[in-house]
Amino acid sequence: MRTLRKIAFLIEEFVTASPAQHLLDRFLIGYSLHGSFHRIPDLEVSVYLIVSSESDFGSRPEDFPLRIEPTAEQAVAHADAVVIVSRRPGAVANEAFLNVALRNAPEGSACFVYGALANSLASARQFTALAASRKIALLASTPISVTWRLPAIDLTPGTPLSEALIVVQVSAQAAQASPPFPPASLRGAELHALEGLLPVIERRRGGETGVRSIRFLEGKDLWRAGDKGLWPRPLLASALSRSHTPQGNALLDGRTEDLLGLGLVPKLARNPRGWLLEHRDGLRSAILFLDGVVSDFNFAVRALDGSVISAQLLRGAPPAEHHFSRLTGIVEDFFRTGTAPWPIERNLLIAGLLETFAKPTSLSGQAVRTDELSVAY
């Protein structure tokens, strides 16, 4: 186990309820972990914040061992670990920060990136190689990949899967029962969806094989594709059954109606969009952005034997958003052991998918081959 004496934060903004605040406060002030309050003793935290960005450190520098450094290089010097946090939702990586960290942090340290590891598969690979050359352990994540699931299920390793689906949203759904800080961009929602789905499906028989093709659908085309079985309606039903936040009449009077069974989903959905992914081993997965239908994240997967498991990915209420406590506990373990809790290839695949999703040619409505995404792990 490594000793943690100094952690450096390189952050784009520090405002209340930002990912930077959630992560920095947990390392600086402490957090709930495994049924008790946990604070790393004698930990020095140094911060580099982009000049001119928002900052609201309050009395933290007076109350806790927090140092604001003038440069990113100075912040990471002599650090045992580095945390890089871009703006919420973390879908656009700050590659300059990562470059500084991997070139200037001590050999043998560890680096955690909140959100996407990098903005392309190629740069993610370059950073991974650079980290390895400098013996710096590297990891990226959001809380979605590690949060509590309702129910607390996981896929049994080696389960043969046939289909998978996740429902997320792009922006706040309603004045009522809004989730804590939704992604607020399609790219953010894509990141959350991949962070929710990949940790489940990568446990299937044979592991993750990479993605052979992607297809973007929206509006009526998305529903027609569902009618044709291009994405699994039964899995949408199962995923929606896990939601605590059905919209529509539930907002009006609290009723618990069957949104899909009553045909309400297409009526409620605002600007419905989706990505259909075909993995290289034949698994089909679907990411549906259903603003206006529910306002929480829910997934469902079907095994080859027909059995279905589904769950909600729980996000804790503001202001604490305790799913960040789960993430911090895992990041702290990573810093202490130098061992990543999942293969870095998950982060590579996410970076590659986000890059591909962002290409105008990917939005044609037709299947697009993605040979470059043969990231297996």
Binding site: R26, S32, L33, G35, W148, A177, D253, G254, A300, A317
Partner: protein
């Protein structure tokens, strides 16, 4: 206290219920016909729902809608094998939803409890009864307790059973009554007529985070719940949060010997003196998602609480076997329900949050009612209760005695009448699938 209408004294109750309460209340229909044995059923069972008022997010709305519309359960939208055949509403709020529901689903609202149970005929015509007497405008007694008509609805239901020569399963939402004699009478009546009787809060059956169980026979010595809300309202939820874990301890539940309730800064003094309780208090608090200290991620310490939280309420209970339960109502500090229990010997603490996605902040539909309605459905279909009604009998008595303690200026109230002994069932009933 009111005199029980039935000749049933506390002593008789203690000796009878205390020894016989380990059974799971499988219906004994010796004197009554048409109470089916436990079996798998395929057809829908008709039920009557007797409620005080139905408006958005009232308890009655939650129950009515789950029966009529279905709800998410085990990865699908589940439509209960129940038909809401008779509805009785005691009050119609200006935002009443019962008439809209009744109209849209063709459910008849009857003018009396009896007609809802008999569907306007001469004899009982339903297979199960839900009594949802929470919310609505009802008088308060001198101790500040709202006199919801749970006991009245129950007794009128039981009278129909007796007159019909048939009894069916009954669910009573939340605590039984604000009067101990009435609580006893309700349980005794259910036993006498031999029908499954289920009651209580949704807290014992909702999600737990983490999803832990208390193994039956665990050598526990103390339980703490940290929660929020007001007396005679949310205290029952806090007590049931603790009790659904405590009852699984080695030896089972022995009943409660004394109750002391404290309001104000004296709570923090008591916590300072009771070191084990203090450990459990902070362990429970660490499971909260909503604790509001100086910083959102940090737990407050006792000194901060003394300075910043001036209106705590706490119930301290001692059980007959020496076990201790404490419940802290900390409105303003937390808005969730957390639990911690101390194991005897090794000092290990077991803790979790009983997750209550409360609308409108955390949900739109209060899904913690889903497992409760599912348990009710299975009770009506199979005539087996998921947990002994003695749990809610005891927690009802705890609430009554705690309020008595507050009324008497934080006096320690001896509670020999709460010698309600029972054993939990092997299978826990919380939501985990």
């Amino acid at each position: 206290m009111k005199t029980s209408k039935l000749a049933w004294t506390r002593r008789q109750f203690v000796s009878t219920v205390g020894s016989a309460a380990t059974a799971a209340f499988v219906a004994d229909a010796k004197a009554f016909s048409a109470v089916p044995k436990a079996k798998e059923n395929t057809g829908k069972r008709r039920i009557a729902l007797i409620a005080t008022e139905a408006r958005k997010y009232s308890h009655a709305q939650h129950f009515i809608d789950r029966v009529l519309e279905g709800y998410g359960w085990q990865g699908r939208h589940h439509r209960p094998q129940l038909e809401l055949a008779g509805l009785y509403m005691d009050q119609f709020n200006e935002n009443d939803l019962s008439r809209e529901r009744a109209s849209r689903h063709r459910v008849k609202i009857y003018p009396t409890v009896e007609e809802a149970l008999t569907l306007g005929r001469s004899k009982l015509a339903v297979d199960g009864v839900l009594i949802i007497a929470e919310h609505g405008s009802y008088p308060r007694n001198e101790r500040g307790q709202t006199r919801y008509p749970r006991h009245e609805f129950f007794q009128r239901t039981a009278k129909v059973f007796e007159e019909s020569g048939r009894a069916v399963p009954v669910f009573n939402d939340k605590h039984l009554s604000t009067d101990w004699e009435e609580c006893v009478e309700m349980v005794q009546t259910a036993k006498r007529l031999g029908f499954p009787f289920m009651a209580g809060s949704s807290l014992p059956v909702t999600w737990r985070i983490p999803s832990i169980d208390m193994p039956l026979g665990t050598p526990l010595e103390e339980s703490v719940c940290v929660c929020y809300g007001t007396i005679d309202s949310y205290d029952i939820h806090g007590l049931e949060t603790a009790q659904c874990m405590s009852e699984r301890r080695a030896g089972g539940e022995s009943g409660v010997k004394s109750v002391q309730a404290i309001r104000g800064k004296a709570v923090w003094q008591m916590l300072e003196e009771r070191k084990n309780t203090q450990k459990l208090f902070f362990a429970a608090l660490s499971r909260s998602f909503t604790c509001r200290g100086r910083y959102s991620t940090a737990l407050p310490d006792l000194e901060w609480l003394k300075d910043n939280h001036e209106h705590p309420v706490a119930y301290f209970l001692e059980h007959f076997d020496g076990f201790r339960t404490s419940v802290f109502l900390l409105t303003g500090l937390v808005s969730d329900f957390t639990y911690a229990g101390l194991k005897r010997g090794n000092g290990e603490i077991v803790s979790c949050q009983m997750y209550l996605p409360m609308p409108p902040a955390l949900s739109t539909v209060a899904d913690f009612f889903n497992p409760l309605v599912n348990h009710i459905e299975r009770m009506i279909l199979n005539h087996v209760v998921p947990y002994p009604v003695e749990r809610t009998l005891l927690t009802s008595g705890m609430v009554i005695s705690a309020i008595e303690s507050l009324y008497r200026g934080h006096a320690l109230v001896e509670t020999p009448h709460l010698k309600v002994a029972y054993k939990a069932l092997d299978q826990s009933s919380f939501w985990r699938a």
